[in-house]
Amino acid sequence: MSALTFSLKKPLQFSVNCAALTPSKLQGKSIQEIASIPMILGNQKLTVGDLFDISGEDPHHFCFKNTSDKLEYLGANMAGGSITIEGNAGAYLGFAMADGEIYCHGHTADFTACNMAGGLLKIDGNAGHFLGGASAGLRKGMRGGTVIVKGSTGDRTGDQMRRGLILIEGNVGDYCGSRMIAGTIGVLGNAGRYAGFNMQRGTLLFTQAPHLHATLQNCGRHTLPFLSLLFKSFQQYNTKFSQLNSQRVQRFVGDIACNGNGEILLAEPLNA
């Protein structure tokens, strides 16, 4: 059975909210019914069929083609199934996603995995700012699930993150793990300034020494037993993180400016 495929008919001038196009929301609907779902583009009322060519029949596996960074909220509130995006995705990809799998072959915009609670989100390209963060007004960001980014991410990655796992093979911008409550963020590339700013708990796992601010305290080099469990859990994903194996790390704790007990672990870099 081929994936239910949405091919964008032409480049978009305005952003489109695609939250309605998830496997769980379209369960049991015919292509005609899906095509008639209303959508808003700028000040126009359109339908899904006006924007996308729809083909395929697998209701559990969606595929988006000819995509654009104007397609926002793809996979929002997703509760199962899988979505493949053959191109770039707009802001709020995987917003409040609870289960299932999203695989984006291109880049994603800001607030990717915002409020995410479960499932797996893989991105081949780069992600924007506030990856795994909280939507406006909320005090907790990502609450579960796994995000894997092959490229780099912007500022405030994991801002107010509460639970879950973010693995970034490239670089991260400034304020990585800011206001982090718990969870784990791994970065193989370089981190910008103020990593762990106002961090309360959680783990930032780096392989390149970041420039740390004064309120993160060096606790020395240690062999941490839990890292063997963490590294073993990476084996299930197709990521360079699965090459990590040394439990020997430099441990920094903070941010003591907010009485935080979070940690930044500096592991040995991977061999090129």
Partner: protein, 306 residues
């Protein structure tokens, strides 16, 4: 029934419902894993005086444990869930937390076939960290990292508790104490290969089998005089004149089938010693079948072909 010139009595072992759990203990090497496990399973021979019955189930290689270090698996049984939970937490705190390099993990995985309750392993022990403890949720399991003087103590938050059976047993009747003990040791060596069971008494063998009640009102159990060789002339003895010593092997298991297998393997190992072993008869302890719901009939067990 006679196997290799050794008589198998037409009787049964009477066993009871218990609650059981398994804990995986790992350490830097087997030496320290055993130090932790031996401490945890110490003074745990009988629920009558110890609260729990516990023992080492088997040694685990590094590739069999969650954290990739050498380890051992420990089984622990109690008459009720409350006692088991209390004893587990106490022994975790005093024996595993304190043992250098040791870590503890739950040993009973979720199953659709078994009714499993999750009980605290490190859930409350974490407060030893005085606020510096941190948790990690990895692949759906929560672990606690507690800072201690040798580094970090790592423990899973919970382990599974299942319905189990305690008190499977058989008696070895021999013509001398040395021969009875040698036969018991031989049986234990074979029974240690059986999964899901422990033999909780010292070396797996108990020499002081008991009966229910006593002439003394405050005693609810006393020596099993019918199997005491020095009382052959004064009590209604179960022993023939040539029997000079009796050893008992008690088995606790996570399932009826596991205890059956352990009993069969143990009895068969003794029978394989042959008539020169001095073993004359294999019997079993019961209370007339009125107290325990599980009956392990020796003839049925030994009639089952493996």
């Amino acid at each position: 029934m006679i196997i290799n010139h050794i008589q198998i009595a037409d009787t049964f072992a009477e066993a009871f419902n218990m609650r059981g759990t398994r804990v995986i203990i790992t350490a830097q090497n087997h030496k320290w894993a055993y130090h932790a496990a031996n401490a945890m399973t110490g003074f745990a021979t009988s629920v009558i005086g110890c609260g729990v019955e516990a023992g080492i189930e088997r040694e685990l290689l590094a590739d069999e444990t969650p954290d990739g270090r050498p380890g051992v698996s420990v089984l622990m049984f109690a008459m009720g869930s409350k006692v088991l939970m209390q004893q587990l937490e106490t022994r975790m705190g005093q024996c595993i937390l304190t043992c250098p390099t040791a870590a503890a993990f739950g040993g009973i995985e979720p199953s659709e076939e078994l009714e499993i309750d999750q009980i605290s392993l490190g859930k409350h022990l974490r407060f030893f960290g005085d606020g510096y403890q941190t948790s990690k949720l990895i692949d759906g399991k929560r672990y606690w990292r507690i800072p201690v003087m040798d580094g970090e103590f790592l423990t899973e938050e919970t382990t599974g508790m299942v319905r189990a059976i305690g008190g499977g047993n058989f008696l070895i009747l021999a013509t001398s104490q040395a021969q009875a003990l040698h036969a018991a040791e031989t049986a234990i060596e074979s029974m240690k290969q059986v999964p899901d069971v422990i033999m909780p008494f010292p070396g797996g063998v108990v020499r002081s089998g008991s009966k229910v009640g006593s002439k003394y009102p405050k005693m609810f159990a006393s020596t099993n005089d019918a199997f005491c060789p020095t009382l052959k002339g004064v009590v209604n003895s179960e022993l023939s004149p040539d029997i000079e010593s009796v050893m008992e092997i008690v088995i606790d298991g996570l399932s009826f089938e596991a205890i059956v297998l352990a009993m069969r393997v143990g009895i068969q190992a003794i029978c394989d010693l042959g008539p020169d072993s001095g073993v004359k008869r294999i019997s079993a302890g019961n209370y007339g079948g009125k107290l325990g719901p599980h009956h392990f009939k020796l003839h049925e067990i030994m009639g089952i072909k493996s």
